[in-house]
Every structure is written in structure tokens, then in C-alpha cells.
């Protein structure tokens, strides 16, 4: 199982039946592959649809039907298409049970940075600021470290996406929960030790007596 699959499978365990969920572009999109059997989750794509499906058969792509990354998708029976004001009314109004977003950094208070690197990369926040402000639960799905550099840091060095702390951080090494008392290590990836996690994390981490392995 590669790093991305570990993350996607673990995040999928956070899904709840009969709820509305938004998956960010990139890694978070993979979560849709691992919805538990028998569970009905309504996935929203913030460019304007609830209830989208896989890419259609070749030659059946519709230029008026794409996901938020611009890729062709299909629509499931019972889907709903809407405009951008409605899309973010759903997001901001507390109708979204959960959003899964990629991250550049998370700090000791659980704040996320994921939309720009000053002087280098200015992507723009797109829908991320609204998603973090509005979703009932915000899950960050990201590699634990990037090119040897820690991403879970004492304090953000990048501009924050929101002042609101996220609900959970899922990486290829660990599950970490931001709490009012700081970050708590909840789970280890299969075969990963607490020491390895600590070595890859520069933010202070509270380590409970038992830190179970993820069950994937």
C-alpha cells in the first residue's frame, strides 16, 4: 500500500452515512474509492454538483460536466446541479458534514495553511477558506513531510487558510488530532513507530499511553 492509499483509506473511515462531503482536488479525491460498503455518501464538487460519478466512457464526455479540477465526470441518478452561490451556501451554512483538504502546513494549534507560498507559489484559496470556515468537520489529508521538511510545525510560516483549527490530520505516518491542549497522536500507520513520527514532526505532540495502529 503506498502513502496515498494509506491516507485515503484511513480518511474514508471518517465518512458517515447519509451525509454531504466535499473532497479537495488531488489526494483527497482518492477517498471516494474507499467508501465503506452499504454507506451512502453524497459527494459535492464545489463547481456545482452533488452526486457525481466516475469519468464517462470514451466519447461520452460532456464539456458542461467536470469536477473542480476540470476533469470529466458523470452524474449519478438523483444528482443535483447548482450555481456557485448555492454551492457555498451549502458549504458555509453548515450543511457539509465533512471536507477533506490537502495541506502545506498544520501548526500546533491545528491551523492549516494550503493556498500560497510567499515569493514562490500563489495558487489562490479557491474554495478552501470557505470549506475550512464552514464544514462541520475538516480533515487534512497530506504526506507527513515533504522533501525531508516537516509539515506539522510549531507555528505556521505560511499564510493561514483560516483561524479555525481543523478537526483531524491524516498522513502516511499518523493520525493527529488538534485539541485545545495541542496536537495529540491518535494512531500510527502500519509498521510505523512513535519515534519515527516524532522525528518527522517539529510541532509538539502529546503521546497517549497507547497509540494503536491504523486498521486499514
Amino acid at each position: 500500500m503506498d502513502a496515498k492509499e494509506i491516507i485515503a483509506r484511513r480518511v474514508a473511515q471518517e465518512l458517515r452515512d447519509r451525509t454531504l462531503v466535499n473532497l479537495g482536488i488531488g489526494l483527497p479525491t482518492l477517498v471516494a474509492r474507499y467508501v465503506p460498503d452499504g454507506m451512502l455518501v453524497a459527494f459535492q464538487s464545489e463547481n456545482g454538483i452533488i452526486g457525481f460519478g466516475a469519468r464517462p466512457p470514451e466519447g461520452m464526455e460532456d464539456p458542461n460536466l467536470t469536477d473542480a479540477g476540470g476533469g470529466f465526470i458523470s452524474a449519478l441518478p438523483g444528482a443535483y446541479a447548482f450555481d456557485s452561490a448555492t454551492s457555498f451556501a451549502l458549504i458555509r451554512g453548515g450543511h457539509l458534514e465533512m471536507t477533506v483538504l490537502g495541506g502545506l502546513q498544520v501548526d500546533a494549534t491545528g491551523r492549516l495553511a494550503n493556498w500560497m507560498v510567499p515569493g514562490k507559489m500563489v495558487a489562490g484559496m479557491g474554495g478552501a477558506m470557505d470549506l475550512v470556515a464552514g464544514a462541520r468537520r475538516v480533515i487534512v489529508a497530506m504526506q507527513h513531510a515533504a522533501r525531508g521538511e516537516a509539515k506539522i510545525v510549531p507555528e505556521l510560516t505560511l499564510p493561514p487558510t483560516s483561524a479555525r483549527p481543523v478537526s483531524l490530520v491524516v498522513t502516511d505516518l499518523a493520525v493527529i488530532e488538534p485539541t485545545p491542549k495541542g496536537l495529540v497522536l491518535r494512531e500510527r500507520a502500519p509498521g510505523v513507530s512513535v519515534e519515527e513520527i516524532l522525528a518527522a514532526t517539529t510541532a509538539p505532540l502529546t503521546i497517549p499511553d497507547t497509540v494503536p495502529e491504523m486498521r486499514l
Binding site: 456545482g48 467536470t66 446541479a81 450555481d83 507559489m121 484559496m125 479557491g126 477558506m129 470557505d130 470556515a133
Partner: protein, 220 residues
């Protein structure tokens, strides 16, 4: 109210967008963007536009084409990550970019069209988006006061238009189009299909013809 008047060619539509104008352009990564009018603006060599839209597309897609062709002086958008040319021009000082959270952008355009003086949103509180903005506390929670956006011209894509210019949109090509139809002095819609009056039932119209100043002809 665009009633039974002659449809415009894309070139005629582009001629209605003055250099230096503030222009709202529908679409999300080019999906739901008025492609033919955008191409006509590039061909005309439009200059100094302030563009309001979701993103700057890709270099060969949507608003991205206008950026590459040097038509854009300022962009008010939520995302430029898919168009490296926008980033280069921004760093070179050739384009000014105002980044707005997507939901806030939608509400600001809606407020402009709905005659509201602004809306209070929790989005952006405690971030760089809050700089220079008024923070209001309502029932114990902080909100940013975000002001309405309006434009000289709105360039829309739609699926169907009838002869009155009643419009429908299709799946995810809807996005910002119906909001922008409310928020500009001149509203130009580029349809995929044109149908007789009465073909679109009243409950399926998403933008009424009374808001549309000009209709572009259907594709050949």
C-alpha cells in the same frame, strides 16, 4: 429585454466591451465560459480589462486566453494556480491580482445584483483576506463585511436561450453565470442552443430575458 432582436456575432459582442472596462466572465476552469466571445476579444486585441471570474483558467483555456493575450490589467478571482502565465505576469507587475475566497466572490457578485450593501461572512477572518476590512461581531461571532461587486459588462455562457433570451444552464457549466447576469449594466449571453419562446418552461428558466441585453448567435 432582448426580445426578438437579431443575435450578435461573437465579433459584434466583443465590440461592446470597451477597453478598460470591468468585465464579469462566467465559468470555472473554462467550463461555462463564453468561448467564442473570449476568442473574439483576443482577436480584437482588447486592452486594460478588469476581469471578475472564478479563476484565470489555463493559458489556452477560458479567461487564461485573455491573460496570455495581454487583455487583462486586473483580475478579481479565487484561484490562479492552474495558469502559470498569470503568476509570471503578476510577479512582473503586468497584472494586478485580487484573490477572493470562492464563496465570498459568489456572494459579492450576488450582493451586487441584489442591491445589497454587503454581506457578513465568517470566511477569511484571521487571514490575509481580512486586511483592510471591517470586522463585525453578530451574536458573539466575528464576520468580515464584504462589499458588493458590479461590472460594466457580463459575458455569460448558457445552454439554451429562447428568443426573449430566457436562459438555462447545464450541469456544472452553471457556476457564476446566473449570478453575473444580475450584476452588470450590459449582459451578453452566448448560447449552445437557441429555441422558440415557450420551449423552456417557466420553472426551468434560470435567467430571465429581461436581464439579458444581447444574445450571441448559436454556434454554426
Amino acid at each position: 429585454m432582448s426580445t426578438q432582436r437579431k443575435a450578435l456575432t461573437p465579433d459584434q459582442a466583443a465590440a461592446l466591451v470597451p477597453d478598460g472596462a470591468t468585465v464579469m466572465i462566467g465559468g470555472f476552469l473554462g467550463v461555462g465560459s463564453p468561448r467564442r466571445v473570449i476568442d473574439a476579444l483576443v482577436a480584437r486585441g482588447a486592452k486594460g480589462l478588469t476581469v471578475i471570474g472564478n479563476d484565470t483558467g489555463r493559458p489556452d483555456l477560458g479567461i487564461g486566453k485573455l491573460v496570455v493575450a495581454g487583455c487583462v490589467a486586473r483580475a478579481i478571482v479565487s484561484h490562479i494556480g492552474t495558469n502559470p502565465v498569470t503568476q509570471q505576469k503578476m510577479i512582473a507587475g503586468e497584472i494586478e491580482v485580487e484573490l477572493v475566497p470562492q464563496g465570498t466572490l459568489a456572494e459579492r457578485i450576488r450582493a451586487g445584483g441584489a442591491g445589497l450593501g454587503g454581506i457578513l461572512t465568517p470566511t477569511g477572518v484571521g487571514t490575509s483576506v481580512a486586511e483592510g476590512k471591517q470586522v463585525l461581531t453578530v451574536d458573539g461571532r466575528d464576520y468580515l463585511l464584504e462589499k458588493p461587486l458590479r461590472a460594466d459588462v457580463a459575458l455569460l455562457h448558457c445552454f439554451e436561450a429562447d428568443y426573449y433570451a430566457n436562459l438555462t444552464y447545464r450541469l456544472t457549466a452553471q457556476n457564476f453565470n446566473p449570478l453575473m447576469a444580475m450584476a452588470a449594466k450590459v449582459v451578453i449571453a452566448e448560447p449552445d442552443e437557441v429555441v422558440p419562446i415557450g420551449v423552456i418552461p417557466p420553472d426551468h428558466v434560470r435567467t430571465p430575458g429581461i436581464l439579458v441585453t444581447h444574445l450571441v448567435e448559436r454556434p454554426h
